[in-house]
Symmetry: C2
Subunit: 332 residues, 2 copies
């Protein structure tokens, strides 16, 4: 029984690629008292992994060189000497890019109890992405019926959920995505009322047209020119959630852009950073709501599943190049 | 009986000065049915007047050329055919830079009932400045006991009140002001725990030293380099109130500066515009609290009173040049 691991071997600057990872095989140890052993079946690929791999100040310490890449993953408990877990339990957590994970329990996110739903959902719509979208829409944005909600990376794993949840809440939704296929997904699969292709359209003009009464809520995963355009159309009392900054590859030194202060002041708007870990004690509330909507058919999920550990080293680049066509997951 | 008015005669670009105003005298009309006539005794000088005089998008329409400069003022009702007001009432409102104001009531802010306090307080600590500071500290910043609160324009009419209110709420307060006299006021009169002179000190280094556990709350009246420095020291969950942007004279096109998105994301911080008009239905709550603190001697107020209408045309420049030594008021 060999543990296949994808090790962060060299420190990247910016988006990590195949040159920064090595695949290794190690022996699998038996769980000690208080530990459980998990056969990991699916690895997640998330934008936050760029930050984790780089040696820059962040909300998590950088991944140590020579260790498995930090990643969310899901798998089944095959042996347990931990009182909270039994053989056969399905668990999700920061198990890393490895096929077997020994855990003391602290890196387990949750026990997957919604066994009628695909297990991979624990990494996306029922995991980091969906719960982020849920609290982003309901808390950080405070989206209310009648609001116009604009979402950047609108067809992405988080963005598509924000758009759909906002729609369920009674909002008008406008998605910004790159290229005709993604804007088609926005309109036909994720139910946006309007979609803007930032690659071929003048975003500011398109937002103005799609949001004649201004933007009440803006869920931003990009920073950069897309955000700058949306910020010119804020309605009074607008709320902006900063979830990610995909358009900016380097924050040292701080990049410059239009100052937002006057826009926030004139609109009495609120711009706020969103990190799901701040909602750690309320995740089940989000999962219950999301599972209900999934079972009702109110939430559409797209997954893009890669096959095998050898696809992992290039997967973060795929994500940043926008080459994935849904929540990016590696089946191992 | 002549009404002396300070008319906006020419449109400024930026801070209005003496060249933009004319003094005129006009006859005073008797109040019509539903009107009251006010003998105005004190005019206010406020940073917002720069925006009101300029022909740029703002939260209020620009002052029309040929009309008295829009301004807060206080005076006594000398004749009333309005059911809500009687001769002898003292009222505060957007009465304009004129010695007599005919009003239908809609531009009256409030009837001054705290007659034991100086009447000029209605323009400062009991008016726009103090109520802005009250809701800024308690709502926009949500300052809590134990928080470190940083205030720019810390010795100004709003800033000095934010600092003192935060102190009353149990916070540690750090004031940023220009020059040794204003930092002395911060420490000796307004009770700040630390004061930073942005004219002679490295603000980022001084904030780091004064706030070893980071900045929980930042009340900003400046934008520009002072804000950029404070933003590098945010604590997790920080709140930033944008009340004014005194350091930036032109917003068309948008000036550039360091992007704040990553700072907001990493700290899960909230940056929000503050405009007192959004609290219009709660002003008495603020006035009651402020009057209590004033009567207890917990709030110190500085006023700088100019004498006569002819001082008005240069007064906004004085304010922006930092030449005033307290809340700037013109006695007429």
């Amino acid at each position: 029984m060999k543990n296949t691991q994808v090790i962060l071997a060299r420190r990247p600057v910016g988006v990590p690629g195949p040159e920064h990872f090595d695949l290794t095989e190690r022996a699998v140890a038996d769980p000690a008292d208080g530990q459980l052993l998990i056969r990991v079946s699916h690895w997640s690929v998330d934008p936050a992994m760029r930050g984790w791999a780089n040696d820059v100040p962040n909300y998590s310490p950088p991944v140590e060189l020579g260790t498995p890449m930090r990643a969310f993953a899901v798998g089944e408990v095959i042996a347990s000497r931990h009182p909270g877990y039994a053989q056969g339990d399905v668990v999700e957590g920061l198990l890393g890019w490895q096929t077997y994970a020994l855990s003391g329990g602290s890196n387990i996110g949750h026990k997957v109890t919604e066994t009628d739903l695909p297990r991979t959902y624990a990494l996306g719509i029922m995991g980091l992405n969906g719960t982020t979208a849920y609290f982003g829409a309901t808390e950080t944005l405070g989206a209310q019926a009648g609001d116009t909600v604009v979402v950047s990376t609108a067809a992405g794993a988080v963005g598509s959920a924000v758009g759909q949840i906002s729609k369920i809440l009674g909002c008008r939704t406008v998605g910004i995505a790159g290229g005709p296929e993604k804007t088609r997904q926005c309109l036909e699969e994720f139910g946006y009322d309007a979609a803007i292709d930032y690659k071929s359209q003048d975003v500011a003009a398109a937002v103005a047209e799609a949001c004649p009464d201004g933007v009440n809520c803006y869920f931003d995963n990009t920073c950069g020119p897309i955000s700058d355009a949306v910020m010119t159309r804020l309605a009074i009392g607008a709320r902006i959630a900063i979830c990610g900054t995909a358009a900016i590859t380097d924050w040292d030194p701080l990049p410059v852009g239009p100052r937002v202060h006057r826009q926030l002041l004139v609109a009495r708007a609120r711009m706020q950073g969103l990190l799901i870990f701040d909602f750690a004690d309320r995740l089940q509330e989000a999962r219950d709501a999301l599972a209900g909507w999934l079972r009702d058919g109110q939430l559409t999920v797209r997954e893009h599943i890669l096959d095998g550990p050898e696809t992992a080293p290039g997967a973060i680049e795929m994500l940043y190049n926008g080459e994935n066509t849904g929540k990016l997951i590696i089946q191992v």
